[in-house]
């Protein structure tokens, strides 16, 4: 397949880049915008929060990353119930008019694993309200299947705990989720460096979502460039189809005709 025609399609929307980046933890919104440009990402995750009433002139994310040019994917970070998630995303929809959203319902702050029971319940509430739900979930193929059956627009299993940078911890599960899913599978969380993103894509994931790996790199903009290439490399390798693994060596130069 020609790379130029290889599009990521989420809820009927077409994207050329398979990298989605977060907008948290950057030193400034300006740095965030530069990293976005370097990454080539077309979607950014954003959080919904109260405005600062004491300083209406405080810089806003929308002043640096134009929602008309980059798709904002509002998240439900900080929500622990379905009702909280619905309330937050209703506000997001009113502020920006978007119905494509990222659902994350977390549990314990120590590991930030998703509360899958509440995630399932929240997903249903949101889908019933007409949202297109991209869902952060555990790397459990059983829950992934249930979320797809509910009507989620994308399944986003964690590679490792949020912000840990530990890389894909369970390749078998990610691969199983990829194989069984007919909606996009996007590894969300756990990527630490470029090779982690490449591995996710080589496993057949449709995309990778990352925040800390870029924002907390020593040079975030350079890392954003690296991630752009890593995702493309992994995708191309997946499409190209890797060679079989062999137990023994196999010389690349023919043995026939040796002097």
């Amino acid at each position: 397949m020609a790379a130029s025609k290889d599009k990521l399609i989420i809820a009927g929307r077409e994207f050329s880049s398979r990298l989605i980046i977060g907008t948290g933890k950057y030193e400034t919104y300006a740095q965030n915008a530069d990293a976005l440009a370097a990454s080539g990402a077309e979607i950014v995750t954003v959080a919904v929060r109260r405005v600062n009433l004491t300083n209406p002139d405080e810089p806003l994310l929308v002043d640096y990353i134009d929602p008309k040019k980059t798709v904002y994917l509002p998240n439900t970070a900080g929500c622990f119930t379905g009702e909280d998630a619905v309330r937050t995303l209703r506000l997001a929809r009113e502020a920006g008019g978007w119905d494509l959203v990222k659902l994350e319902v977390l549990s314990d702050p120590k590991h930030l694993y998703p509360d899958m029971e509440e995630t399932m319940r929240s997903a249903k509430l949101l889908i019933d309200e007409g949202f297109e739900v991209m869902v952060y979930c555990s790397d459990d193929p059983v829950f992934a299947r249930k979320l797809e059956d509910l009507g989620c627009a994308a399944i986003m299993p964690l590679g490792a705990p949020i912000g840990s940078g530990l890389g894909i911890q369970n390749r078998v599960n990610i691969r199983l989720i990829v194989e069984q899913s007919s909606v996009p599978v996007i590894v969300d969380a756990g990527v630490g460096t470029a090779s982690d993103a490449t591995i996710a894509m080589e496993l057949g994931c449709d995309g990778v979502l990352m925040n800390t790996a870029i924002a907390e790199a020593k040079h975030p903009i350079q890392m954003a460039t690296a991630m752009k290439h890593a995702v493309i490399a992994g995708r191309e390798a997946y499409l190209a189809g890797r060679m079989p693994r062999k137990k023994y060596a196999d010389p690349s130069s023919p043995l026939a005709g040796l002097i």
Binding site: D57, L61, R87, A95
Partner: protein, 69 residues
């Protein structure tokens, strides 16, 4: 007549009773296009800012987007 309302958890007293959401946002200094408003847990659509009159005891949330993962 004055009213007291709650905005983002803060108490605002001495506001003109019956003022619209539009007038309140202008008073606070927020541009309408970058935010969303909830009043007593119901979304106030942008198209209704001018005609939504606030009452004593109303609880408002005004939100925007910030960086997040």
């Amino acid at each position: 007549m004055q009213m007291t309302i709650t905005i983002n958890g803060e108490t605002y007293a001495d506001l003109q009773a019956g003022m619209s959401v539009s007038v309140l946002l202008a008073h606070l200094g927020f541009p309408e296009r970058k935010i969303a408003v909830e009043c007593n847990r119901e979304i106030v659509p942008k198209s209704s800012y001018g005609k939504t009159a606030l009452q004593d005891g109303d609880v408002l949330e005004i939100i925007t987007f910030i960086g997040g993962g």
